[in-house]
Symmetry: D2
Subunit: 97 residues, 4 copies
């Protein structure tokens, strides 16, 4: 069943590994705050976690374009247009977040 | 000659109009600074100009996906892969700028 | 001992609560990926987690300006200058992340 | 008259020079679009102009913190609180733009 194959299927372990690392960063942030770490040091780690999340997003997006969008574009028609509008909206959310 | 048709061909006037508006915003910023406008008011206008530039980028990107990338994906093969990698790199630059 | 008082001291519980919620979002993302959720749905949640992290950063920064920086500025001199340069560098990292 | 001194007073020429360079970049973008430059090349230049605008904002913000906010903080009281809230709101607009 083709629908069930997600764009990141081939990268699932890598994506999960990255997300677990981000989870570790966010838990590290909680420890820093509990131990009254200096504000600027906490902010530096927040920036690092934010960048790590963006990297996850960019890799998911590339997988999505390479598979789902490329597939739909090859079929053409309304489905292709809808997929591209949907991807563009997701890119806009990323750029604005 | 198909190569010469850029993704934003159908939107050229709209893109130019948006860019001229951004130019107007940047000239307005120069006037504000010349007239010693309050820092925060200048910053608010810089944020507005930045958002306007991002909107231009997002519309160019959607046009690019709809035309150049969709076209290449329909052809498939190495050209399609290269186009998607190139678009992904442009998206990464946008997200990080 | 003045050094030990961090800018977010009065907001510590609120900051921890927000960070635990971000941790929950990142764990939710892992579940989505494990269950092969649709790429765009995963991306939407990554954007939400990124925004939540930025909101933590902005609140920490406001606390830092209100306490540590305001305190240093009231003292004046080199310490004040150093605190403002340090805060500006943290803001730049946030804007670019 | 103290009110008339803006935070970037000592940097006015440098700020104007940067803004004129951004104006040049935006005019260059118009030329690129008029000449049907390749979408990705246009996007690369939009990212560069966006980064240049952000750099203007970060330098204005540092000047503002060093002068207006530091001044108000030294005075203390409600004016100091209001200046810090105002600066924090401007930082939030920047981070989100």
């Amino acid at each position: 069943m083709e629908q069930a194959v997600v764009g990141y299927a081939g990268e699932k372990d890598a994506v999960l590994k990255r997300l677990r690392r981000v989870e570790g960063q966010v838990r590290g942030l909680q420890r820093m705050v509990e131990e009254d770490a200096y504000c600027i040091d906490v902010l530096t780690q927040v920036s690092a976690a934010t960048k790590a999340l963006q990297a996850v997003a960019l890799s998911l997006l590339e997988d999505h374009l390479s598979h789902c969008v490329a597939h739909a574009a090859a079929e053409g028609g309304d489905v292709a247009d809808a997929k591209i509008r949907e991807a563009s909206a997701a890119i806009a959310r990323l750029v604005r977040s």
